[in-house]
Subunit: 234 residues, 2 copies
Amino acid sequence: MKEVITCLSPQLLPLYHVEDKVVVVVDILRATSSMVTAFAYGAASITPVPTLAECRMLKDQDYITAGERGGLKVDGFDLGNSPFEFMDHKLNGKDLAFTTTNGSQAILSVTSAKAVLLGAFLNLSATADYLNSQSNSVLILCAGWKGKFNIEDTLYAGALASLLQDQNEAEDDATLAAISLYQFASPDLLDFLHKGSHAKRLAGFLNHKDLEFCVQSDKFDLNAVFRDHRLYRI
Amino acid sequence: MKEVITCLSPQLLPLYHVEDKVVVVVDILRATSSMVTAFAYGAASITPVPTLAECRMLKDQDYITAGERGGLKVDGFDLGNSPFEFMDHKLNGKDLAFTTTNGSQAILSVTSAKAVLLGAFLNLSATADYLNSQSNSVLILCAGWKGKFNIEDTLYAGALASLLQDQNEAEDDATLAAISLYQFASPDLLDFLHKGSHAKRLAGFLNHKDLEFCVQSDKFDLNAVFRDHRLYRI
């Protein structure tokens, strides 16, 4: 039987086995949402890199550089981390180098998995379909916020796990909690994300337009997998 | 303003400051529920100890030894970790030494806090009243399950934070999620804890009677604090 397991923070990852699993990495605000958008606009590949310096080195090799630190665009980079910056057909056929506080690091932490997929509300059903069509167990890795639990990634975990439930079994409390939380919040995700005090955290670096865009389901029918140091659309 | 923050697993504790906070340690199934019960039945003190060997040493000093490993009673100990074992007036005036997989360790990990309280549904309102009567910020530390998130401790965090909301501010996503999860589950906590797949985990070591008892609110009007290596009723 396939398992569906959720790791609520990269800080908890050492407690999980990833080698036998397909890992879906999610950083709703905003890395994986922006990466999925970039692929929808034709990006050829995205290389997640851990440091600003490595990102700058790739710029010299004609990569488009993108990312943030603490939610803010990086000096000298071509793009920040808002999905709207990636809605540009100039990305078509281009290789991107991407570094963010949480999301890029989370992707790089699970490269020993059977496969690594990008998870975002924007391509939710495509990811669910892919996972339902294959036989490996699934680990949903929430990128979190500086190592801590965050709510938007957990809501995504609940949404994805809900779509896998018919064929799989939620094995752990984190997945069950995520599913319940998603059921609780899904009548109006945007409202839920706004009314809480965590909106303060988001308001620090995020405009309403970004939030509104990133919680839309199924805007793009695509998946992206990590292979040979890069993410590719499949 | 007082903050209310929730740490969903001891594994995440290095990300939090405890020195300026009152920490409520919660291990619903079953350490803190049993400890609170022991105080209700007259225990003079409870010394949480990390190892079986230290617990046995205290037995030689006339302590009553209690605890579990992996949910099972320890060979040679006087008591296990079911709250029903602590409903015994023979505990009256006695010192207990207590070691458990998750709860005792969690208490010992926050001894640098301003104060450490025991949290359980059994004394929920008493703890809320205490916290509302003082001015320090609050960290709710969920003992979790072998380092991972667990649902019953998180539900307690939501229940407690809900009672503190009027006077305080939930500052973090974990507290907000816990409150929402509690709202979702509170119409029938027991049913919620039973129907999920995590019931399988619980069934491994827990009988229904224990679960039913441990999710009852306000059975005991008492608090317990950690001071000089021991917990005392206040």
